[in-house]
């Protein structure tokens, strides 16, 4: 940044060159166009910001936070931090959800890398689920067709209401 120390006092004795009148008109038009565009965009920005802090948005995101917190607590009840975990790739959505839940604190491995546990998500519309989903654990090498070895516990989220749409 250019620092701006004291200039020599007074002007240099000459009036600033203002140019012909058409220049002033064009200059004014340029300023007006730029300002109108900026103000228009700013108003849209204000609308976006106001929408983002609405009570409805806040409630939806609180529900979203509660859902992910519920899944995380259930996963923690099944595997320890740092454990070698394989995620059941049965469905892309479930795989992605589980990776978000445990990817930061477990070592995700593939089938060939000797996992100590296989995690999966199952639909279960009972108490103890996170919005109808539970985290379950299968023994390594199991076929995943039978009942799971253990079911996640410690948290449930049976709240109603929709979750927010999460833009990609």
């Amino acid at each position: 940044m250019v620092s701006s120390p004291d200039p020599p006092s007074g002007s240099n004795g000459r009036a600033p060159h203002r140019g012909p009148s058409w220049r002033i008109i064009v200059r004014t038009i340029c300023a007006a166009v730029a300002l109108v565009a900026l103000v228009f965009a700013s108003l849209q920005g204000i609308r976006t910001t106001t929408h983002g802090q609405s009570a409805d948005q806040t409630r939806q995101w609180e529900r979203d936070a509660a859902y992910w917190n519920c899944l995380t607590i259930q996963a923690h009840s099944l595997v320890k931090p740092g454990e070698r975990v394989e995620i059941n790739r049965g469905g892309l959505a479930a795989s992605v959800t589980l990776e978000k839940v445990v990817g930061g604190w477990t070592s995700l491995v593939t089938k060939a890398q000797n996992a100590s546990a296989i995690l999966s998500l199952e639909g279960r519309h009972k108490q103890g689920s996170c919005r109808g989903t539970v985290v379950v654990e299968y023994a390594p090498g199991s076929s995943l067709h039978g009942p799971p070895e253990r079911v996640g516990s410690g948290a449930s989220d049976g709240s109603g209401g929709s979750l927010p749409s999460t833009p990609l």
Binding site: M1, S4, P7, R14, C30, E86, E99, G104, L108, P167
Partner: protein, 474 residues
């Protein structure tokens, strides 16, 4: 704070630059944690202490040079300081208002899948970090993405002991706001340059008011471009606005050591935040190097001095390019898992991919329909006003905008996979840079059109910050 003082000096944007330097230091610390040993926090503390020590040496040397040369430092009283303080306050209040959506605990898709997930890796120590980076079991974490956002969150988690996604999102939103402040300050500086940097004078209040209003409007327009991604933990706003800031300091404001230092900080932020930011930063480094190497005319500095300076500028640019390539090379050496977006079978022809890419980008770049004609007309009518203030030719900013946009467009066209899906999931974020750059161009022209410029404004603003360009505007 000391590195910021040594690089950009004292100004309204010194504190934001100090924060951004801290974020860069966490990125370097995270890289060392991955490459060598330890967790990110000890490396960060070591780097912060070392950089503060080196900066204090630079500041002391600078002070001694001033004393030895007998140069009088301008005395600044409260009357001189309050307009600048008021400008900073107005801009801070605007940014606080823009961050109010943080009241909703939103965590975006990518934030949870990539940025905050990787923060846990960086907070987990060398072995866990390395294993996670190489893990083929991880399909969404984009291991090879640059580290800055994740390492900033990781260091905050380690310092506060509060390892929550909420804290992570707040840290990222704070960085977005800080980078936006630093970029918006370009408009305030440009308006000050138009009145010759005068501290008192009839045009000074008008220039400051126009500069601050321009900066506030630019900030609000920028947050309109960010949309919900400003406060949900995404990295795109940060790299985009930092790259635009680099255009402002490196290609718009006068060619000075402090301005190029500020541009370097913002380029480092952009390059260490996301792959698109790295590619855009490379383009901007080349442009800034060209501008600075061409501004030191032999006639101004003398034949050998001009030639020497040109080589220094080229050497600095080359160093910047090498530093920007460190993370991609490190990620490859450490066998980071490849991104799903940048791997796989290529689909479609050149023509079809180009058509899809242009069609997908266009709806997010309507601002160019205002910025381009405005720049054309103003470039003809107001060129001399701009030159008198020492501001760079607007073509430099356009080259920066189009260069960054071209790199991103070329990635979609030449890259692997299905372009349509790739664009659907990302184009609204990858075009943020070009849109914000266009708003900066519009804001600068608004200021140039409104503030009456003084003749020989640059010559009237003697500065301790070496003016490299002389009175010639480039």
């Amino acid at each position: 704070m000391l590195p910021a003082l040594a690089i950009v000096g004292r100004s309204g944007a010194t504190l934001p630059f100090a924060v951004l330097i801290g974020a860069i230091e966490t990125g370097v610390a995270g890289s060392l944690s991955l490459a060598v040993a330890w967790s990110t926090l000890p490396w960060f503390l070591f780097i912060a202490i070392a950089s503060s020590f080196l900066s204090s040496l630079v500041l002391i040397k600078d002070r001694r040079r001033i004393v030895a040369s007998g140069e009088q430092r301008p005395r600044r009283n409260i009357r001189d300081r309050w307009p600048g303080a008021a400008a900073v306050t107005v801009l801070i209040l605007t940014l606080i208002w823009c961050l109010l959506p943080l009241r909703a605990p939103s965590v975006g898709w990518d934030a949870r899948a990539i940025w905050l997930l990787r923060s846990s890796w960086f907070a987990g120590g060398h072995n866990f970090l390395l294993a996670s980076f190489r893990s083929p079991g991880s399909i969404i974490a984009h291991s090879s993405y640059p580290p800055l956002v994740s390492t900033s969150v990781a260091v905050t988690w380690q310092l506060t002991g509060d390892h929550t996604e909420r804290v992570g999102v707040v840290v990222v939103a704070f960085l977005n706001a800080v980078a936006t402040f630093a970029t918006a300050w370009v408009i305030v500086e440009a308006s000050r340059n138009l009145v010759g940097g005068q501290r008192r004078g009839k045009d000074r209040p008008l220039a400051l008011i126009v500069g601050v209003v321009g900066a506030v409007l630019f900030t609000l327009a920028t947050f309109k471009v960010f949309g919900p991604f400003s406060t949900n933990g995404y990295a795109d706003p940060l790299w985009s606005v930092a790259a635009v800031g680099a255009i402002g300091y490196g290609l718009v404001l006068p060619t000075t050591k402090r301005n190029v230092g500020a541009a370097a900080i913002l380029l480092a932020v952009s390059g260490l935040t996301k792959t698109e930011g790295t590619a855009t930063a490379v383009v901007l480094v080349v442009l800034i190097t060209l501008r600075y190497s061409s501004c030191a005319s032999p006639s101004f500095l003398g034949g050998s001095a001009g030639s020497r300076w040109r080589w220094r500028a080229v050497a600095a640019g080359a160093t910047g390019l090498v530093l920007l390539s460190v993370w991609p090379i490190l990620a490859r050496l450490e066998h980071a898992t490849r991104d799903v977006n940048t791997s796989g079978q290529r689909e479609g022809t050149w023509d079809s991919r180009t058509h899809v890419t242009v069609s997908a980008m266009a709806p997010y770049l309507h601002v160019l329909l205002v910025a381009a004609p405005l720049a054309l007309v103003a470039g003809v009518v107001l060129r001399r006003h701009r030159e008198r203030a020492g501001l760079g030719n607007d073509l430099w900013a356009w080259l920066g905008l189009l260069g960054g946009l071209s790199v991103i467009g070329a990635s979609y066209i030449t890259g692997p996979g299905n372009t349509a899906f790739w664009l659907y999931t990302s184009v609204h974020r990858t075009t943020m840079f070009a849109a914000i750059a266009a708003w900066l161009i519009v804001s600068i022209w608004a200021v140039v059109a409104i503030v009456p410029s003084e003749e020989n404004a640059v010559a009237r603003a003697p500065s301790r910050d070496t003016q490299l360009a002389g009175s010639r505007s480039l």
